[in-house]
Amino acid sequence: MSALDNARMAPRIGLSEEQAQLLDIAESFCRDKSPVDKVRALIEEEGGFDDAVWREIAELGWLGIGVPENYGGIGLGMGELVPLVEHMGRSLMNTPFVPTVLAAQALLRGGSEAQKEEFLPKLAAGSAASLAVCEDHADWNLENLTAAATRRNGKLVLSGKKYLVLHAAASDIVLASVALDGQAALIIIPADALEGRMTREKIIDDTQRAYALDLDGMALDEDHLLPMEMAADTLAHIEQMASLLLAADMCGGAFACIDYTLDYLKTRKQFGKLIGSYQSLKHTMVDAHQLYEKARSHLYSAAHVFGEQGEGEMAVHMAKAEAGEAFSFAADRAIQFHGGFGFTYDCDAQLYRRRAIMGCALHGDTRYHRRKIAELMF
């Protein structure tokens, strides 16, 4: 079936019982564990996340949701992660959750049996991990690789740098993409190999942590390499998964940011009236809300059909494109509508706006994903 036929078909949406339960649990968990004063306190700390919360997340079993039972997980799908990440986005929560589940899913998709057996039970139990797939060329195409590996004396010797590796400092392993013999490859870098090679990056979103990794001269055993024949497919899968979860985070952010702004519009008076009674603000908030609702429908549609050939990919591109647009618009207006206060660091609007920019910068912005849809469709 062509992508065009897919476009003609009525788009599908649904919610599993597990998703509904997780939506409930995540809502109260994230609200309790990540109030905004805590988010702000964590900004000041080097690691950027609360280790106790991270351990609780592991104990709740959330890290094993997408990991099959024979590797120590629960064996559900990516769709079940969406409600969790959505509520993390609503609470501006930041832990190594997303990079860890992405690394686990990438290993599940493209790792050897031995690698899966060694690492997946650990990642499902609370060992953090991350992906190193961004480079200095700033290209979203994950197959554009300048970092490389060459075989020398029975070892794989790496060269180049990787950027925007989230929570690398907390990770026990990092899954890095490199070119090997002119082809894309993925390689497992253990934490001890990264010692002295990690630099914290100054990123726009103060609630997150990203690091640059210097791979030059790093030598790893051959068994760290994921089977080459699956590498390109795994990279494509990484883009899909990351886009879905970023869409979830941004949808959550858009909702919270609209809510935050509405509170202000309902209490702030100017010229003797609550500013929310002025139509220039009210109508714009409605527009932001409508964009958010559309983005959320795309999000749960993408969660529902994730992994289906054609339809699944298109739904993810749409979800990421729309979530980025909705969050960016809502957060941009949030700053503006807070007036002078909006221009201060104390106003939370900037936290949302920065997170929206970060969310679009990783794995493609709205224009990029629309281009991908155009390629599928026309």
Binding site: A7, G276, Q279, K294, S297, Y300, S301, I373
Partner: protein, 402 residues
Amino acid sequence: MADFDQQELTEFTEAAAAWFKENTPHDVDFMLPLTFMEVGTDQQFNFLRDWQNKVYEAGYLGAHWPKEYGGGGRHRAFQDAATKIMAQERTPIMLNAIGLNWTGPLLIDRGSEDEKQKYIKGILSAETIWCQGFSEPEHGSDLGNAQTRAVKDGDEYIINGSKIWTTQGNYADYMILLARTNPDAENKYKGLSFFLAPMKNSGVETVPIKKLTGEYGFTQTFFTDARIPANCLMGNEGEGWLIAMQTLEYERGARSGQAGGHVMMMADPTDILGLAREAKLNGRPAIEDPAVQEELVALMTEARALGLNSRRDKIQPLAQDRPMSLALGSKLSSTDFYQRLNAFAISLQGTRAAYYVGDDSAHDNGIWQRGYLNSFSATIGGGTSQIQRNIIGEHVLGLPKS
């Protein structure tokens, strides 16, 4: 409503598909209205009335309405199936839209036994055509301020005043009429009453309004000492606002119960793909232009979101953050979307964008130009998009009144 037999539904759906394939007229030699608001000639009116009657007689309209009043007495899933086929087959629209979508469900939900017996069958068969008298010339979106007067005189009411944007007013047999029975009520809303008012009556005059498209479809309706029986009052005096608001919920899709069948033939967003392939911009098919592609993708993405929104609204855990949000937002988002879609379609046509219905050079006989101009009926009628934003801002987002 009780459960239904899946097998029976399957058979019904197959029979409906076959019936519409067989009976949908294709060789109409005049332009059919794309929406119920565009019925401008007797030829169009008579054709559509016959068509609706035929569909009803075949059992594909009001299939889920109560049998005792003329409906099919089936589960709603049956009508939904038939409606879907009509949209897919792009059959002519159902004519009696106000009756089918607003008056009918209103009567079923809160009408008296007499009212149901008297009106519902005629609504389905198109024997009695209904129109709506809410808006007034001086109070477009401010319905609560309606000034048309209804004064009780024995067993009659005397109506004076004027209503505007009466769809099919010149053809209608009845009007759902919002009129002021008590100008001294404690507030403007409590002075209003709701009538099922006969139109073919002395003292009622309809004057067709020429629309921006150059066509007809609406009238202004003048009441000059028009006498209607007192039992035309629906409910009690002073309940007019309440009933009108309920009616608007059917109109805005926030309440269900409509008889089914489509009353608007919306451009399918994928139709525009055909146009983008065919239309030339700077000598090349418009679809090859990357800027066109991006805009087209955005529109198709939005079209999917509208469909997804209404499905998500039925998934409770995904629709509870802000109750009524998706239902109240659908009118605003869909009418605004179709307007931009039509405008975009015109923008793909190069110099041909200049042509209109009736010229051989017009693309697709000018449907996009005409559709764009007509799209304003939906962004203005039934509460303008600006009023919708007030409603959503206040009732969904909880912002203070403007």
